[in-house]
């Protein structure tokens, strides 16, 4: 149940999604990945992709226009 972070600040689509996908494949079930983003389009495809994979997703708005996507690997 380890927690990992991924800094995607300043990166535009589709880079955050590609990085997230790569990182998630290295995690074990139950691990949590926190992805920091500030590009609004990544707010659409990253959570959508993660839910499609069956993972648990929750987002925190850290600051105006800055978010942390929390993904718990479910399978």
């Amino acid at each position: 149940m380890a927690e990992f972070t991924l800094d995607c600040l300043g990166e535009a689509c589709p880079v955050p999604l590609m990085k997230t996908e790569k990182k998630m494949s290295e995690l074990s079930v139950g691990d949590v990945l926190v992805v920091s983003i500030d590009h609004s389009c990544a707010m659409k495809n990253v959570p959508e992709w993660a839910r499609k994979q069956g993972h648990n997703v929750e987002i925190e708005e850290v600051d105006d226009g800055e978010w942390e996507i929390v993904i718990e690997k479910a399978k």
């Binding site: 535009a12 659409k44 959570p47 959508e48 992709w49 499609k52 997703v57 929750e58």
Partner: protein
């Protein structure tokens, strides 16, 4: 992990134009309000590059910019936001429950503004290439990544053509697959003539997608001519689908009334078939789906929820009177006859200080009357032990009232 339970007056599912407007109305009415959004606050409008028909912005606005203003306004009125998806709901009764991955939110009223999701083509191998693998639903998101490339757009509605034109700013070539005959498109006339004149746009008429092919990523879209059945492989780098939306209503199945397409059915007050549950915006069965109409829906539901909650409070505290005796007179203020009877009830109140007397004007709002099963005034209702004991709806006299109130 134990789920944490939190209490709200109103929970709004979905943070698009309709949900945000409902939030603004509820927040301003000092209700404790939560909006749950599963991705980006602003909803479908944020996928649109230009919004030119929303009043108040003569220069036009970007979808993202406009929704950001809605978001700020809701925050100003103290609305809470939770960015996650709703797993399940229970809507019956006075305490409604909305469950997410980590929380259970209890609310007195629920406003459903869950919108829709992009429709897929249903063609072979589609699921293998979704999102970052080549099939996209958001030109604003993925246009820059297609600089200098060849992309395909499926559809000919406003979204397809406008987003297709936006893509020509980045891509070298935008191939549009249209299921209709040569020259026939579903979009507005202005967009149509602009698109036909755009040298970077190429149209393939009478075609639908047969399959998606490629190694890791999408490389070829195989189209099928609907007239000749001929299969046409087209080499592309990405494919954008703009063939309409499906409502997000799976979790409400069997609870709320829906039409055949799965859209929620409401009355003009946005009320669903369950008291205290409202549906607004694109998820609702309606004639026109626009930011402007979503805002109207949201305002109606926000106002309705506020009225519903205040009626709940009056009903429990005053009408049911904690089980103690209560006499209710339902009248219509515009009806002279029912107005005249008011004095009988005033007099009754003075003579019986142990009985609570309430006079309710049905003209202003019929919510309380409905809860008592009364559709028309004048009507007197005698309540004891939180139950209706007797009703009189004709020949209301002092003697009759004295007789039933025992």
């Amino acid at each position: 992990m134990e789920k944490k339970t939190l209490q709200y007056d109103v929970v709004i599912i979905g943070g698009g134009a309709a949900g945000l407007t409902a939030g603004i109305y509820c927040g301003r009415a000092k209700l404790k309000t939560l909006i749950i959004e599963k991705t980006l606050v602003g909803g479908l409008a944020t996928y649109t590059n230009e919004i030119e028909n929303y009043p108040g912005f003569p220069e036009g606005a970007t979808g993202l910019g406009l929704m950001d203003l809605f978001h700020k306004q809701a925050k100003k009125f103290g609305v809470d936001f939770k960015l996650t998806d709703v797993r399940s709901v229970s809507l019956e009764g006075n305490v409604k429950k909305v469950e997410t991955f980590r929380n259970i939110f209890e609310a007195k009223a629920v406003i459903i503004a869950s919108g829709g999701k992009p429709r897929l083509t249903g063609a072979k191998n589609e699921e293998l290439y979704l999102y970052d693998k080549g099939i996209s639903f958001c030109a604003t998101c993925d246009a820059a990544a297609n600089t200098g490339k060849t992309v395909m757009v499926i559809g000919s509605g406003d979204a397809a053509i406008e987003e297709g034109m936006f893509l020509t700013k980045f891509a070298d070539k935008v191939i549009v697959s249209v299921m209709h005959e040569n020259g026939k498109m579903d979009c507005n006339e202005i967009a149509k003539s602009q698109a036909l004149d755009n040298p970077k746009m190429e149209f393939m008429w009478n075609t639908v997608v047969d399959s998606f092919e490629g190694e890791e990523r999408l490389g070829t879209v195989v189209l099928k001519n609907v007239k000749t059945e001929e299969k046409i492989p087209v080499t592309v780098d990405s494919c954008f689908l703009f063939i309409g939306y499906l409502p997000n209503t799976e979790i409400f199945e069997g609870m709320l009334d829906m039409n055949r397409g799965g859209y929620l059915i409401t009355n003009e007050r946005m009320e669903s078939n369950i008291p205290g549950v409202y549906a607004v915006g694109d998820v609702r069965d309606k004639f026109l789906k626009q930011v402007a109409t979503a805002v109207g829906d949201g305002a109606v539901a926000g106002y309705g929820a506020e009225k519903y909650l205040s009626e709940c409070e009056i009903f429990e505290q005053q009408i049911l009177n904690e089980g103690k005796p209560s006499l209710v007179y339902i009248y219509n203020a515009v009806d002279a006859n029912s107005r005249e009877l008011l004095s009988i009830f005033k007099e009754f109140e003075q003579n019986h200080c142990d009985i609570r007397v309430s006079c309710i004007d049905i003209y202003k709002s019929d919510g309380l009357a409905k809860r008592l099963g009364v559709s028309n005034g004048p009507c007197a209702v005698w309540i004891k032990d939180c139950k209706i004991q007797k009703k009189i709806d004709s020949e209301i006299t002092k003697e009759q009232i004295e007789r039933i109130c025992i």
